[in-house]
């Protein structure tokens, strides 16, 4: 019932910046790949058994390849090191593209904020907005020029004038003034942010301080900082894609806890009937309370319905 998987070949592997590798994935027979929308990601099933999600960075009009960029993480649990070890010509399994970070369809102007490797979905959004002629400003914050992935591609793009680079080690006058860049909320203007948790907290905090309503703030968590478990009888979920740990309070559903952390899971019935929110469980033992899965599927324990089900173990690692 989950999105279908397919095998793709690594057609190109390039070093985009220090510790950042860019991979171009193509169909082994050269056929078109399923189309995707800006902000989409794919699950990558690594040969070492680890599953990671990576945003697609290429132009959504490109039908024959998916481009992902992977930052080598010093604390890698097998995802980024596994990816960086892959060579051109290798086949890997991926899911069809999914989008939890879609562009709003009614925007007049967009503010795109990327922190580090968070540029990948943001760049895809920029390609899309430039193509449809909707104005935007892209602020791209990195530690240094050598760590700025896709800098050359951006400079040569048609939308280069809309992009503002900010380097931590650069002169003070080029550093991001979040308040000035975001400005007061305006009708039909949406803000999108992707990057490390600290970066996103900073940007979203600045926007909220300026009075931005939540429905115009869009975020994709991609590399997080583990929070501490306070072990009060609740449990926590760890998002495999980002390492983000989210605590689920006793009176809270997993979906509600995820939503509070800005992670949206599609839901419909909210009582374990429809299976819309079905989510893969990579580690831990779910406590099933749904009526969707069969007994055998419950026993297998590799998926659960976060709208109503909980955890028998202190932590569930979710394929989100």
């Amino acid at each position: 019932m989950n999105s279908s998987q397919r095998s793709v070949r690594i057609a190109r592997k390039t070093t985009e910046a220090i510790d950042i590798c860019c991979f171009e994935l193509v169909d082994p027979d050269g056929k078109p790949l399923p189309s995707f929308s800006a902000g989409s990601h794919i699950d990558v099933h690594l040969p070492n058994g680890v599953v990671r999600q990576y945003s697609l960075a290429n132009d959504p009009r490109d039908t024959h390849s998916y481009q992902i960029a992977v930052l080598l993480d010093a604390n890698s649990r097998g995802g980024s090191t596994g990816m960086h070890a892959l060579q051109v010509g290798t086949s890997i399994r991926i899911s069809d593209p999914k989008n939890h970070f879609a562009l709003a369809h009614d925007s007049r102007h967009s503010i795109l904020m990327a922190g580090g490797i968070g540029i990948t979905p943001i760049l895809c959004m920029a390609e899309r907005l430039a193509h449809v002629g909707v104005s935007f400003d892209l602020h791209y914050c990195t530690r240094s020029l050598e760590r700025t992935a896709f800098a050359e591609r951006i400079r040569r793009s048609t939308f280069a004038d809309c992009v503002h680079f900010h380097n931590d080690d650069g002169p003070a006058d080029q550093k991001l003034d979040a308040g000035a860049a975001i400005g007061a909320p305006r009708d039909d203007v949406h803000l999108y942010v992707c990057g490390p948790t600290g970066f996103m907290d900073w940007i979203l905090g600045a926007a909220r301080a300026l009075g931005w309503p939540e429905d115009r703030l869009h975020r994709e968590y991609f590399a997080g900082v583990a929070a501490k478990s306070d072990d009060n009888g609740a449990f926590e979920v760890l998002l495999a894609s980002s390492g983000t740990v989210i605590r689920v309070a006793p009176a809270q559903t997993v979906v509600a806890a995820l939503a509070a952390a800005g992670v949206s899971v599609p839901v419909s019935c909210e009582q374990g009937v429809c299976g819309t929110c079905l989510t893969r469980v990579l580690e831990g033992t779910p406590e099933h309370r749904d009526m969707y899965l069969t007994d055998a599927e419950h026993a297998q324990g590799d998926q659960f319905t976060p709208c109503c089900s909980r955890s028998k173990t202190p932590r569930l690692v979710l394929d989100l």
Partner: protein, 368 residues
């Protein structure tokens, strides 16, 4: 950019009718009802099922039913517009003649018949008063039969009424309708008048079927149950209403009634059965035959009023389902917001899972 960004938020997990653009959600490896047995004679009978034109007739030599692709190999005229001669069917356009296996054996205007001049033939069965056709892989047809639960239809100890209600809607809409009877108190409030279907039923799933079961506390019956059983509408009796997704082509319905204090000589238990046969013409059009039966003999006078009453009830479903399809078809993107499901949809959701498994199996091994 609207549909693209919006559509990305939700993936159609199920082959339900609301999962996006309307598409063919019917497996071909299944016995689908094609006609009533009495419809098939030595005159060709044409129909469309699963987007496929099919012609049915009885061959002269032994009265066996023949099912062929209703499309002459020559100019694609429907063979059903022609006639039957002995075992053969003759195209009414230029007289091409086909034997029962679908091979063209005569072209009146020339002596030679090209080897490739043939139409597909399909396995066909005559069961339970219906003719069933297998449009999928013919080698799989013998492994199954139309469900035996339908045997009551031709059982002379039962009293059965039947009718046909064509739908301008996806066939799963009807199946999901009969898997969630909480619509009784709304759609049929003036006809069936069962007003106590007000909570979700229990649902049981096995390898291929989905069953819902609702036990009702001892209470008086509505007219349509109380009259034929002779229990009336005053005395309180036990009632169990259940239904089952048997195959993509067949749904079963049932009411089991138990009278704790039967009158002397009267039966304490009554069995009422319903069959819903749905055969898609296309993703948005469905042939729908229904049957209702009691395991008792009922007077002709009652039956003559019962049949139109049942037809009126299904006409009410038709109105709402046709409207559903109209609205769903208007939404070209089909997935810009999720279908919100209720607990009472549990059986329908599980039926979609069964259907999806069949569709997945067929896609894994495509049939011709």
């Amino acid at each position: 950019m609207n549909t693209e960004t919006q559509a990305a938020g939700y993936s159609a997990r199920s082959p339900g009718p609301f999962g996006g653009p309307v598409q063919a959600n019917y497996p071909r490896n299944c016995w689908w009802a094609a006609a009533r047995t009495s419809d098939i004679t030595d005159k060709p009978y044409g129909c469309t099922m699963l987007d496929t034109p099919v012609v049915l007739y009885r061959r002269g030599s032994d009265n066996q039913i023949v099912a062929l692709h209703d499309r002459c190999a020559h100019r694609w005229a429907p063979l059903s517009a022609g006639w039957v001669e002995g075992d053969r069917i003759v195209c009414g356009y230029h007289g091409f003649e086909y034997e029962t296996g679908g091979k063209c054996v005569r072209i009146p205007s020339q002596d030679n018949v090209p080897a490739k001049a043939c139409v597909r033939s399909y396995p066909a069965l005559d069961r339970h008063g219906m003719v069933w056709v297998w449009l999928g892989d013919p080698s799989l047809a013998n492994a199954s039969e139309p469900p035996a639960e339908l045997a009551f239809i031709t059982d002379p100890t039962w009293t059965v009424v039947t009718g046909e209600t064509p739908l301008e809607a996806n066939y799963m809409m009807l199946k999901e309708n009969v898997l969630d009877l909480t619509h009784f108190g709304f759609v049929h409030r003036n006809t069936i008048k069962v007003m106590d279907w007000d909570r979700p039923p229990k649902v049981e799933v096995d390898e291929t079927t989905v069953t819902f079961i609702q036990e009702f506390p001892s209470s008086p019956l509505v007219f349509i149950y109380g009259m034929p059983t002779g229990i009336g509408t005053e005395r309180s009796v036990y009632r169990r209403n259940w239904g089952r997704f048997l195959t993509p082509a067949v749904n079963l319905g049932a009411v089991d009634i138990r009278d704790p204090n039967p009158a002397p000589g009267a039966s304490a238990e009554f069995t009422f059965r319903v069959v819903h046969l749905t055969t898609p013409i296309s993703p948005t059009r469905t042939r729908y035959w229904w049957f209702q039966g009691w395991d008792i003999q009922l007077p002709a006078e009652y039956v003559s009023k019962w049949q139109p009453g049942v037809a009126a009830g299904y006409a009410e479903d038709k109105v709402i389902l046709n409207e559903l399809q109209r609205i769903v078809s208007l939404d070209a993107s089909g997935c810009d917001y999720p279908e919100i499901l209720a607990q009472a949809d549990q059986a329908a959701i599980q039926a979609r899972r069964k259907l999806q498994a069949l569709l997945d199996a067929e896609r894994a091994e495509p049939t011709r």
